[in-house]
Amino acid sequence: MIAILDYGSGNLRSAQRAFATSGVDVVVTSDPATALESDGLVVPGVGAFAACMQGLRSVNGEAIIRERIAKERPVLGICIGMQILFQEGSEHAENGNHKGVGVWEGEVSRLNAPILPHMGWNSVESESKSTLLKGVVGESFYFVHSYAAKKAVGKMQGWSFHGEKFLAVVEDGYVSATQFHPEKSGDAGLALIKNWVSAL
């Protein structure tokens, strides 16, 4: 069973349907026990970094993510759900960066591009063997974000480009993340979701 963590994030319905296409049971939940015990936990996220962290803390999500990683249970962060896994974020941070969950070192900062958000379909490239990108290397996925992580973390990185190169995919043991929205990325996105589910 897959749990999609509900902490006030907008459109979870289509995420639920997208993950269900892999043939697994999917629940949208803010119940800590379910989120902790599920075979895979999806951490979605929309809006700003700090608001997202606030929502996450309100359902004890930070502790749940840490405990799952300690117990070697898979977690997948999507979009802002990826960004908050980093140490800190500079979005709307007038007095020092906002703190993230801190699974990975480094910060999430504004993309240096003339037009933001980076909105639409962009391809992802990877130099090493990827579990998530199996069969969909070089295909395009749907992005919508203005901030991103730009330094390599984890064991496998997939990169994309908008004004500058940034991290589009990270795989690091039991934690994976995508800056794009696989649940909005058509057949390529559904294939990536299936890759994650199959590896659980």
């Binding site: 319905r13 037009i115 958000p117 909105m119 639409g120 391809s123 919508v144 990169w159 190169k165 058509g186």
Partner: protein, 257 residues
């Protein structure tokens, strides 16, 4: 690793059906919105836009149901516009499965609605739909309401600058002069708005030939919306993408699986 241009079919929905407008008045039934959305999705549409033109509360409920059913089976971004007046309207649409909402008249009468929506849900959900026409305002382009029938005396450039400052995530620029003519997008208008918009710009109104799509991109559009050329079968989405791809514009190829 280049951002592709987006091709976006627009479906006008009323009382649960897609309608085709001919000269704004003769609405002809064009089919089931969920089926059409799935078809356009399979053909390689990069996003879908539903424009809710229902005038009744019942019609709006039906449209929410259409959004729900579409979001269940089409896994590309869905924008819904029409009749959105407040934050609760946005919340209902997002919960039904919309990824973005587009606002127009309500933002003109109360611009702070833009920041209210952006603060609550993030700029990325908010598309500002601008119905503009050529007029004697400072930039030569005026914002209109009621499908281009009523002027506002608001200069389109000033409005876009203001809206970007309030937090819109994208501009949908509809040329009321070009709308439905199939004589080409309003290139002058796209060029003018591109010069002030720091957010993605979706061109709408006037798509006719395949070269029209390329011309709008040359003028600075990031995405291209069209309705009648797709609904009437003049072009298929794949035709537009093949044409643009062969002229070196970045498009998303849709692999057969």
């Amino acid at each position: 690793m280049t951002l592709s241009v987006r091709i976006i079919p627009c479906l006008d929905v009323t009382n649960g059906r897609v309608v085709k407008g001919v000269n704004f008045t003769n609405l002809v039934d064009a089919g089931d919105p969920v089926e059409m959305a799935a078809l356009y999705g399979a053909e390689g549409a990069d996003e879908l836009t539903f424009l809710d033109i229902s005038a009744t509360v019942d019609g709006r409920e039906t449209t929410l149901d259409v959004v729900r059913r579409t979001a269940e089976q089409v896994f590309i971004p869905l924008t819904v516009g029409g009749g959105i007046r407040n934050v609760s309207d946005v919340d209902r649409l997002l919960r039904a499965g919309a990824d973005k909402v587009s606002i127009n008249t309500a933002a003109i009468s109360r611009p702070e609605l833009i920041s209210e929506i952006a603060d609550r849900f993030g700029s990325q959900v908010l598309v500002l739909s601008v119905d503009a026409r050529r007029a004697r305002t400072e930039s030569g382009f005026e914002v209109t309401t009621h499908g281009g029938r009523e002027g506002t005396d608001i200069d389109a450039i000033a409005w876009i600058e203001k809206a970007c400052g309030l937090g819109v995530g994208e501009i949908l620029l509809n040329s009321m002069d070009a709308d439905g003519t199939r004589a080409g997008y309003d290139i002058g208008m796209i060029t003018a708005m591109r010069s002030v918009s720091k957010v993605p710009l979706v061109a709408s109104g006037g798509a006719g030939t395949l070269a029209d799509f390329a011309a709008a991109l040359d003028a600075g559009a990031d995405a291209l919306l069209a309705a009648s050329v797709f609904h009437f079968g003049i072009h298929r989405i794949g035709d537009v993408k093949s044409y643009l791809g062969s002229h070196n514009y970045p498009v998303r190829a849709v692999a057969a699986r």
